[in-house]
């Protein structure tokens, strides 16, 4: 029973989102005027003409930035459980453990920076 109560709010929220989403699409299809012509069938890009293929290839610098994000994402994920028991249980030893981990990661950051991994050109 307790489980049902916990999840019920989430379910109601999800149902509301779905209903809202479906409702908006449905109303616009029912109420909107439908006059098709060649201009309207073109892809719309905020007034500017679409130029070039739709699949433009990304530059690799995006990828390097994303890697950095991934590494530090992992770090944050570890930090959260860490702080929950830092004060009552881990104490100074805990700070050493996390300090060593962070030192290794910051070294990696410094390395990537120095080697030009973050240069935008």
């Amino acid at each position: 029973m307790a489980f049902t109560v916990t999840v019920m709010g989430l379910l109601i929220f999800a149902a509301a989102v779905a209903a809202n989403f479906a409702g908006m699409i449905l109303t616009s299809t029912i109420l909107g005027p439908k006059r098709r012509n060649s201009v309207k069938d073109q892809p719309f890009e905020c007034g500017s003409l679409p130029v070039g293929p739709t699949h433009t290839r990304f530059h690799i610098r995006f990828y390097l930035t994303a890697i950095l994000f991934l590494i530090f994402d992992i770090e944050v994920v570890f930090l959260y459980p860490f702080i929950t028991i830092l004060r009552p249980e881990l104490g100074v030893t805990g700070l050493w453990i996390m300090g060593a981990f962070l030192a290794v990661l910051v070294f990696g950051l410094a390395y990537e920076w120095r080697r030009g991994g973050m240069e935008w050109d």
Binding site: T4, F58, I71, Y80, F82, T84, F101, V104, G108, R115
Partner: protein
């Protein structure tokens, strides 16, 4: 059948269905999106299995960061070229792989089949709080009190990964 069972059934089915979809879809972009859906189903299963922290982890790291990298990679490659006529190996190899996968599944199920409930007594005392109660603190203890060495090793692994990625990406500077 309570609500929990219904949700478990839905997400377990979803995880398997999306996994099959990833394997059978020709288009790489669609496969990536189906894989995201698969991961979200798993995250929901983790939450239902009293592992809320892992559910969040799954969404943050897997669905959030790892799949973004995958999509970047898809965008950097020429997706019109890949995944057209040659998405799969030849029929012979597909049949062989099917046989192998079925064999693997049967072997694992056979191996694990004998062990259910009766033999594998829960290690926790009866009536003890399950893994869900106070989950974050209990995971944190396992992570930092007994797993401190592994934690530091993961730090070194991440540093190795940074160096490795720089090598792969920076090679072109020399050419």
């Amino acid at each position: 059948m309570g609500l929990r069972e219904v949700l478990l059934a839905v997400f377990a089915f979803g995880a398997l269905a999306f996994a099959l979809a990833v394997v059978s879809t020709r288009n790489t972009v669609y496969a990536a999106l189906e894989f995201v859906a698969h991961l979200l189903c798993l995250a929901a299963l983790y939450c239902l299995l009293d592992a809320p922290l892992l559910g969040v982890l799954q969404v943050m790291v897997y669905a959030g960061a790892i799949m973004v990298l995958f999509l970047f990679a898809v965008m950097m490659l020429d997706i019109q070229e890949t995944g057209r006529e040659s998405a799969f190996q030849g029929p012979g190899q597909v049949a062989g792989a099917l046989l192998l996968a079925a064999l693997l599944f049967a072997l694992l199920v056979f191996g694990a089949d004998r062990f259910p409930a009766a033999a594998l007594a829960p290690a926790a005392a009866p009536g003890a709080p399950g893994v869900g109660a106070d989950n974050v603190v209990r995971v944190a203890r396992a992570l930092f009190e007994r797993g401190a060495l592994v934690f530091e090793a993961v730090g070194v692994l991440l540093l190795t990964a940074v160096v490795a990625v720089m090598v792969m990406a920076k090679r072109r500077l020399e050419n």
